[in-house]
């Protein structure tokens, strides 16, 4: 029939081979290669993240310290943008043309079809005028974002601030944080981040090729709801916190007040401070820049980071240890000729003023250096000069129990441990066995290498107020709506001094206020027990220090006030402390004959910038030329210097964070 009949097989064969090629390719992309299913998933699945509202922070009576307020981000979807008057738009947003171009390029680079942030954090007032006209610019939309706001502008160093999360943190968060998330950077915002941030919600949507939502992915199976952050009830008392910040205005220093029966911190002033609202919103970067440039470092958290020689405020502790050791009794007396002689050296007592015959209580009340040096030497030389090191080690351990030279484990980042010298420290200076009780005698009066933070000083007063124990000081009283209290804050920490030993010391402290150095700070109707301190330091006037607790029976407040470079403790720190105590205990400040709060609020005791800026000019030791003193002061300067350096470091760190945010 046809000579080419067999060619049907050739043709069929060619067809079949080509179809087999197609089939094997289909088999490869559909069954073998897993990438396409993932691509398809990525095409349609759009996780939409709902940020949880950050938990508010309240004061101890429930008044808000931090709330959330709506700000607005202007978003842009480049593909939806129609030609518009750029100049007009820039004017509306209050930006210039180069900024516009930069932000536009960034948005286009991010995605043409997906919205991204064009301009961040516009306040509700600015937004009101923008909102009316935003519809004239298709493609631009707005989205609310909740930022922190501080109704009373107090407690900046306590509250800290939040900022965009760094890349490093994102990488270490196991996928929790995403770029642009806000996290606590300092203060409570940082230490309670996990409680405050809440749980982010995710909705998985399916979108079409134009990014239009088409329905829930997998019927919402992988969606989670946002859970708002828990509220924190802080231990601060808004009223005295406000008063404290006013009193410390134009001064450098801190106030720390603690409720002895709980360890709750009532007042936490770091001065100079700043308005925490400055660290929110669009001007945040500029504001932060200015604050960093402030020579008094408002970001330095003085209550826990500044270290001062406690000075005379340390004397009650000296006395307590001696009583406990049985070295002295309350009636042990000493004749003060206006100086104290140890070995071949002579130490002046309070500018050479002779106290005459003093016992323990009056030594505390009159702040007699000689008495406490005598007591200190008795302890150190109890078993002879050869045992000095061993005795010092014992003494040091006892002081350490009071929380000096150690971190008190405050629920805040950045706590310093102060300084409590070790035997090794003296070995290094004077070689092993080369130092005696007289060498380290200034420790007896809270000078020398001894450094304490205001928090440690206030805690010391709690211990005295409680007759021998303290609760860990803390700033957050309760977590969440259930007011959960951390267990560790309910435990008493005993310091190893019998409660009976406290009475004579407290008698002396009462006398300080009743008739002693701090008589001007006596509060009508309240028995306050306190101790002034005047800490010599290497740069300028001594620091004015006052520690106290009140009332004497069933104490409700223990306080430490430091006003840097302002002179004697009785002049500045003590009155300020008394106002705080009175306000806290009575709710108001009654008029007094000699002093009024307004005077202290208005006084300017800011140190000169050149002398304050110790980084540039470490001061030479002042009056005493003895070897030991020289060592001490240069050491002190070193300590302060290192504090300054730390500060500088953290500044640099913060600056770079800020830069990252652009």
């Amino acid at each position: 029939m046809n000579s080419f009949f067999e060619r049907r097989y050739v043709i069929s064969g060619i067809f079949l081979v080509i179809i087999l090629i197609l089939l094997s390719r289909l088999f490869y992309i559909q069954i073998i290669d897993p990438r396409y299913a993932i691509y398809a998933n990525n095409n349609v699945r759009r996780p939409v993240i709902y940020n949880a509202a950050r938990g508010p922070i309240l004061d101890r009576t429930g008044k808000p310290l931090v709330q959330n307020v709506a700000f607005y981000d202007i978003m842009v979807t480049p593909k939806q943008v129609k030609p518009f008057d750029t100049a007009e738009f820039c004017k509306l947003l209050g930006i210039d043309r180069p900024t516009f171009d930069k932000q536009w390029t960034r948005a286009v680079k991010y995605s043409s079809y997906q919205p991204s942030i064009f301009e961040k954090q516009i306040s509700a007032t600015d937004y009101a005028s923008i909102q009316e006209r935003l519809s004239e610019f298709p493609g631009f939309t707005s989205t609310p974002r909740y930022l922190r706001t501080y109704p009373d502008s107090v407690g900046a160093q306590f509250l800290g601030y939040i900022g965009e999360v760094t890349d490093d943190k994102i990488n270490h968060s196991h996928g929790y944080y995403h770029p642009g998330d806000l996290v606590g950077i300092t203060g409570v915002e940082k230490s309670y981040e996990a409680v405050l941030r809440g749980q982010r919600g995710i909705e998985n949507w399916m979108v079409d090729s134009r990014n239009k939502r088409k329905g829930k992915y997998a019927n919402g199976m992988f969606d989670t709801a946002a859970v708002a952050g828990q509220r924190l009830t802080s231990s601060l008392d808004l009223d005295i916190q406000k008063l404290g910040e006013q009193l410390m205005h134009n001064k450098v220093g801190s106030i720390v007040a603690i409720e002895p029966s709980t360890g709750e911190i009532l007042c936490y002033v770091s001065s100079p401070t700043y308005d925490p609202n400055l660290m929110v919103g669009r001007e945040r970067g500029n504001n932060a820049e200015k604050l960093y440039e402030n020579p008094y470092s408002p970001f330095f958290i003085r209550p826990i980071q500044a270290k001062y020689p406690p000075g005379s405020s340390f004397k009650p502790l000296s006395a307590l240890i001696a009583l406990q050791e049985g070295i002295i009794t309350p009636s042990t007396s000493y004749y003060c000729p206006g100086y104290y002689i140890a070995g071949n050296r002579r130490f002046k007592c309070n500018n050479g003023e002779a106290h005459g015959e003093v016992d323990l209580s009056s030594a505390v009340a009159k702040s007699c250096n000689g008495y406490f040096m005598m007591v200190f030497q008795k302890i150190m030389d109890r078993y002879g000069a050869r045992q000095t090191e061993q005795m010092f080690t014992q003494w040091r351990a006892q002081v350490n129990k009071f929380g000096l030279g150690t971190k008190l484990d405050l629920d805040m980042p950045g706590e310093a441990r102060g300084n409590l010298p070790t035997p090794l420290h003296y070995d290094n200076i004077y070689k092993h066995g080369g130092w005696r009780s007289s060498t380290i005698l200034s420790l007896a009066i809270g000078q020398g290498e001894l450094l304490a933070t205001p928090l440690q000083m206030a805690n010391l007063e709690c211990i005295i107020a409680n007759h021998g124990y303290y609760y860990k000081p803390h700033l957050i009283k309760a977590i969440g709506a259930q007011n959960v209290i951390k267990k560790e804050y309910l435990e008493r920490n005993y310091v190893g001094i019998d409660s009976t030993n406290f009475e004579p010391v407290i008698n002396g402290m009462q006398e300080v206020v009743e008739s002693g150095t701090a008589i001007r700070s006596k509060i009508p109707g309240i028995i306050m027990c306190g101790k002034t301190g005047t800490a010599q330091n290497s740069h300028g006037d001594p620091h004015s220090i006052f520690v106290a607790f009140a009332p004497r029976d069933h104490p409700k407040i223990a306080i430490a006030v430091v006003v840097e470079n302002s002179g004697e403790g009785a002049h500045w720190a003590a009155p300020i402390a008394s106002f705080i105590v009175e306000k806290y205990l009575k709710g108001s400040i009654s008029p007094r004959e000699e002093i009024n709060p307004e005077y202290f609020m208005n006084a300017n005791k800011l140190p000169d910038i050149p002398t304050y800026n110790i980084k540039t000019k470490p001061q030479a030791p002042a009056n005493d030329t003895s070897k030991k003193q020289k060592k001490d002061s240069s050491d002190k300067a070193k300590g302060l210097k290192s504090a300054g350096n730390d500060d500088g470091k953290s500044l640099a760190g913060k600056r770079s964070t800020k830069k990252g945010k652009g």
Binding site: N2, F27, N43, S209
Partner: protein, 420 residues
Amino acid sequence: MNNQRSFFFNVDWVTVFIYLALCTIGWFNIHSAVLDPKYHGILDFKTDYSKQFWYIIAALVVAIIVLLLESRFITALAPAFYGVSILLLMVVLVIGRNVGGNQAWLSLGGGVRLQPSEFAKFTTCLLLARYLSSVNVRVTELRSFSVALAIIGVPMVLILLQPDMGSTLVFYSFIFVLYREGLSPYFLVISALFITLFLTSILFSPLSVIAVISIVVLLIILLFRKNKKLVMTMLAGLAICIAFVFSVKFIYNHVLQPHQKVRIDIVLGIKNDPRGQGYNVNQSKIAIGSGKLWGKGYLHGTQTKYSFVPAQSTDFIFCTVGEEWGFAGSLAVLGLYTALILRLIFLAERQRSPFSRIYGYGAASIIFFHVMINIATTIGLAPVIGIPLPLISYGGSSLISFTLLIFVLVKLDSNRMGIV
């Protein structure tokens, strides 16, 4: 009576069944690809699937009419059909509607458009069969071969002017018909050689391609140097190849349109442009690849439903098949096509009349070519040239012309015992 009975007995129900299966599969996939939850109507002629529904009804009517016609009528009118389609191809160049860069459509009013190039394939097939089955015509003879080439070439040129590269290339499938009728197998070999040369000379520098083929040719000449005729042929072939390689660069750079160049580049892997020119193919591959073995289920494809894949109801309809029915579905559809093509070849071979046989091969080749290029395009094995998947792709012209193509053969076959 007898005639009526034999009519039903003689219709090849296997072909009819495959035809109906493919049309049904087509309709469901179009329905899924373009489903708009707001319009559910199937009869309202508003959506693609509603239109396709009516096109299928129309195609069935056409099929029945074809079956009722006299076979003689079909052969007799072949030149007329051809003439009309050539005329329409000319008319479309003048008053046609331009859609997607191709001036390929004649508007018939009411939203219905006719694509003459679809019908030209069918009429060319008819006329070619008619000519090659004439007495004294042999493909092996130059004159007959030239006439056959002219019959194929005229519509090709007219379609190329639209310019519809895809439909033009479809006419190349007639090479199988000519081969079956006696064309030298060298034409197939040379075709394959030229396609390979074309692709390699785009991929590599012309000089290296020429160097390689020169070495091969010289080796052959060295081996068979005693056969003078072979040596001469090889040398001539080499010359042609060299000329071709250089002309490829020229054609590629100066004749092809930029988008065609890019499409070729993408298939060859020279360019990777998943957001621009390569978007279609990339999304199409994602759609098909994400179907896995069993697919995402009817109406559950995300790639196609959410319009990531363009032209999803026409040229890229296979994406819906691959995505929603998986490899199983792909295998079933390709299986049906294979069965259809082999069945058409089987029908062609059992014809007594050369006309029917040649026509049958033409039909099989055209369908094969469409299936091969269309599916290869969707999985990135061929450049995007835009030809429909027979019976499945949305489109009335295409559906009806394939119906004609198939049912004319069924009609001829049912009548194979008679004399045409």
